[in-house]
């Protein structure tokens, strides 16, 4: 059971890493607008579109 002395701190380190990543994503503004990105995925055909034009 003494493995718990390694595993537990390791788990906590993972938690901290996850939190840091989350904090960064919040600060970069990923959670400011939760609606527009859902429609933005529809706009993926830029290349074909350019050919249209030329």
């Amino acid at each position: 059971m003494s493995v718990i002395y390694i595993v537990l701190p390791l788990a906590l380190i993972f938690v901290i890493i996850a939190l840091v990543v989350f904090a960064r994503s919040v600060r970069s503004g990923q959670f400011d607008d939760l609606e527009t990105p859902s429609v933005r995925i529809l706009h993926d055909d830029e290349e074909a579109d350019r050919e249209d034009r030329s």
Binding site: M1, L8, V15, T36, V39
Partner: protein, 813 residues
């Protein structure tokens, strides 16, 4: 690229719909052998423009939206003020790499296709580095290279696509709110991570209670839990700050019992960890913090979106003026104007400054500023005020005061002062929580005393179990969740509610004071009555269509359209009180009774009676003389909106006491109030903004009063009222101070609002009852020592779950 229009020539007719806007194509415009059909040249132009830019996929993305019926509205403005240095100083900030960035509010954004069109701007336009659209807020962030392209060019491009851009004024406030939102989100994450991990350790500890656990690991788990709980305590600082503020203000609110619960649980847990005996409550405490923070975040976000939507509407009010500078006219931002300058105001524009008319004559609609529905005639030397509307022809105005120093600006200060004086409202949940804290603390003390004989450890253990089980998690969630659900639903009904407490204040009937012009009425001159020769109607319309005057345009709108007579002679009288026209061989004189009387001699008894009748109704009488004698009369006025009477009846049925408070002439107000069955003591006309404020403050001292209005003259009264409601089409100042903003015209949504508020309060009450019930049962069990920490920990989330379900399932709006 054809959408629905694959019809061949044989099917030509009303079945064809426009390739751009999907409206039916008039038969005269149908092109026999074309796939593309347009209902008007505007649509053709927009279609061509979208196609030329290679953006044809727009028509695939737009889908079958109901908004599809609306053609793209382009204003065709030049937007040259967007390049003015003072504009840049105010709205533009530098971005990385020598680029510039600004936020523009776009009109008409509503679907995925809009996002796509706007975000394609950089691809189509050299020099634009980035365009990002936030669909919910209709806000586009544009980054561009000033060396390659000017902002006005970008603005014109957006305008041509149908999204008229406006500078966004509240950037700093929004940035602050955004940072606050982000901080709260990070706190939620920390609390959530702590709660989850403490829960896992707690499972091991609870397991150990039954099956045994080595002391070594028990101590380790407790210490790790302590560290994690410490992190959650950092997140809980939101509540501690709120509680401190509440104590300083000597008004107990929800944050106080929450703080006591959290601190007691955490403190005891720390002591238990250090001493190695007794229960640790870190699992309950961290879960509590996490849930309460989530509730707070949900409510905050909802209220924000309502407030944002209202705020964006202010950005629509005009922000530029046409400055006359050394003989040339250029558009500048309002902020660049100083006294002594001359500005040009075209017909149909609102006047940007307080000043004197130096050239031209026109009619001014001052209804937003004074509530007066009849236009005022101005000529050289007359004073005009900012915020009023120039109706009939171009005038030049010498600036006397601009910005803060205008009458509108001074009124805004009055508004701010009255808002500060408004008595704070103690919310239901806060009232209950005050009692709640006292009761819980008394009970905890009682538990301690009862169990003291069994030893201090047991006594404290039971007391803490009580504090945990009664911890007002559900109580804390009850209001925010119900309110946020209600605000969200109300928003879809076109009712924007800026603060949750407005709902509580609206739930019990009181007095409603309605503004007249623009609120109960249409807010513009219309033909209301007609007497006499019907056959003259088309002729009058043709004569009046040649004249730019508010009365003339009311007649044109109100009379039937006919084929135009080729020969019309129209001549306006010098004083502007009448017009003479020759059409279809008949000689018409149209004008005020005094004007017509001069031409025809004294009026007959019948005509004079009709003129008096119109005046009593609050209408402006217009007489029509044909070939020398009076043949017809028209009554022009600001008509009641079709739904107003029904809406007023509905409010009365709900128990509200309805009154009218208007700045218009008392006679006009009385005539309208009679039609709405409002008794004389509840109507007041001719009120200045200051008088309106006094009336509302006096009424507010006696009980709850809801003020409904649209104008700058109502703004102070709106902010002093228990709840201020601004209606659609109103002035910026009114929208800024109102607690509730209606995005549909007229007062019909008021009934929905009051009903929804009452239902929301019922949901909150139900929530409070349920959570208190759980607490009472839990407390009873804890005092008698029947439940341990495990049962307490199960009972607590159960009550929260009930509250969450109730809040989101209930029908409010």
């Amino acid at each position: 690229m054809s959408t629905e229009t694959t019809a061949g020539p044989s099917e030509a007719g009303p079945d064809l719909s426009c390739s751009h806007c999907a409206l039916p194509v008039p038969a005269s415009l149908v092109e026999a052998d074309s796939d593309l059909q347009f209902c008007c040249h505007g649509c053709r132009a927009v279609y061509a423009m979208i196609h030329d830019q290679g953006l044809g996929r727009y028509y695939d993305l737009i889908g079958e939206d109901e908004e599809r019926g609306l053609p793209a509205r382009t204003t065709g403005r030049s937007y040259e003020e967007f390049d003015d240095p003072s504009f840049h100083e105010l709205y533009v900030r530098p971005a990385a790499g020598g680029l510039l960035a600004t936020d523009l509010y776009l009109e008409g954004v509503h679907c995925a296709a809009c996002v796509w069109l706007v975000e394609k701007v950089p691809v189509r336009m050299a020099g634009v580095a980035e365009a990002r659209l936030d669909m919910r807020q209709s806000m586009a962030r544009v980054v561009w290279d000033p060396a390659a392209v000017q902002l006005s060019t970008i603005a014109r491009f957006l305008d041509a696509l149908g999204y008229a851009p406006h500078p966004f004024r509240g950037v700093q406030a929004r940035e602050m709110r955004r940072r606050e939102d982000r901080r709260l989100l990070i706190k939620i994450a920390v609390a959530g991570a702590a709660a989850g991990n403490v829960m896992m350790l707690a499972a091991a500890l609870y397991g150990g209670m039954w099956h045994g656990i080595a002391d070594e690991f028990e101590t380790l788990f407790r210490w790790v839990s302590l560290v994690l709980a410490l992190a959650a305590m950092w997140s809980a600082s939101v509540f501690f700050r709120g509680a401190m503020g509440s104590l300083r203000a000597r008004a107990l609110h929800m944050d106080v019992p929450i703080t006591i619960g959290i601190v007691a649980g955490f403190g005891w847990g720390v002591w238990a960890t250090l001493s190695g005996q007794g229960e640790i409550y870190f699992d309950s405490v961290t879960a509590l913090i996490f849930l309460l923070l989530v509730g707070r975040y949900v409510q905050q976000r909802r209220q924000r979106s309502a407030a944002d939507a209202a705020e964006l509407l202010y950005s629509l009010s005009p922000s530029s003026a046409r400055l006359i500078d050394a003989g040339t006219v250029r558009t500048v931002p309002l902020e660049a104007l100083v006294p002594g300058m001359r500005v040009e105001v075209p017909a149909g524009d609102s006047i940007p400054v307080d000043g004197l008319v130096v050239a031209g004559r026109s009619d001014i609609d001052a209804s937003l500023l004074t509530g007066e529905s009849r236009p005022e005639h101005v000529g050289e030397g007359d004073g005009v005020h900012a915020g009023t509307l120039n109706l009939s022809s171009r005038i030049e105005v010498q600036v006397l005061a601009a910005g803060e120093n205008t009458r509108v600006g001074r009124l805004s200060r009055l508004v701010e002062e009255s808002a500060l004086r408004r008595a704070p409202v103690i919310r239901l949940a806060d009232r209950i929580s005050g009692v709640f804290v006292a009761v819980v603390l008394a009970l905890a003390l009682l538990t301690l005393l009862i169990w003291w004989r069994q030893g201090a450890g047991v006594a404290v253990d039971h007391a803490i179990a009580l504090l945990i089980v009664t911890c007002p998690c559900a109580l804390g969630l009850a209001t925010p969740l119900a309110v946020s659900a209600a605000i969200g639903r109300a928003g879809r009904e076109g009712i924007l509610i800026k603060g949750g407490d407005a709902l509580e204040r609206l739930s019990r009937p009181g007095r409603v004071l309605l503004d007249k012009t623009g609120t109960l009425t249409e807010g513009r001159m219309e033909l209301v009555r007609w007497w006499g020769d019907e056959s003259l109607k088309p002729l009058v319309r043709q004569v009046e269509s040649q004249v730019a005057h508010p009365v003339a345009s009311a007649l044109v709108r109100g009379l039937p359209e006919v084929e135009a007579e080729p020969e019309i002679e129209v001549e306006r009288s010098a004083d502007g009180s009448g017009v003479r026209g020759r059409v279809a061989g008949r000689d018409l004189n149209i004008g005020s009774p005094a004007h017509v009387e001069q031409l025809t001699g004294p009026l007959t008894e019948t005509v004079a009676g009709i003129v008096r009748g119109y005046a009593d109704e609050g209408l402006t009488p217009v007489l029509i003389a044909c070939d020398g004698s009076v043949a017809a009369a028209a009554g022009i006025g600001d008509p009641l909106r079709p739904g107003s009477a029904a809406a007023v009846d509905e409010l009365r049925e709900m128990g509200w006491h309805v009154g009218v408070l208007s700045g218009d002439h008392p006679g006009v107000v009385a005539a309208l109030a009679r039609r709405l069955d409002i008794p004389p003591e509840d109507r007041q006309g001719g009120a200045t903004p200051e008088e309106k404020l006094r009336v509302v403050e006096r009424a507010a001292a006696e009980g709850s009063v809801v003020m409904v209005g649209d104008g700058v003259n109502d703004a102070a009264a709106l902010s002093a009222a228990t709840v201020g409601v601004a209606v659609h089409g109103g002035a910026e100042a009114a929208m800024a101070v109102a607690d509730v903003f209606l995005t549909r015209e007229g007062i019909e949504p008021l009934g929905t609002l009051f009903l929804g508020a009452r239902r929301t309060m019922n949901v909150i009450r139900l929530n409070l009852i349920f959570s208190l019930l759980y607490n009472v049962i839990g407390a009873a069990l804890a005092v008698t020592g029947l439940i341990g920490p495990l049962v307490a920990a199960v009972l607590m989330p159960l009550s929260s779950l009930t509250v969450i379900t109730l809040s989101y399932r209930a029908r409010t709006f």
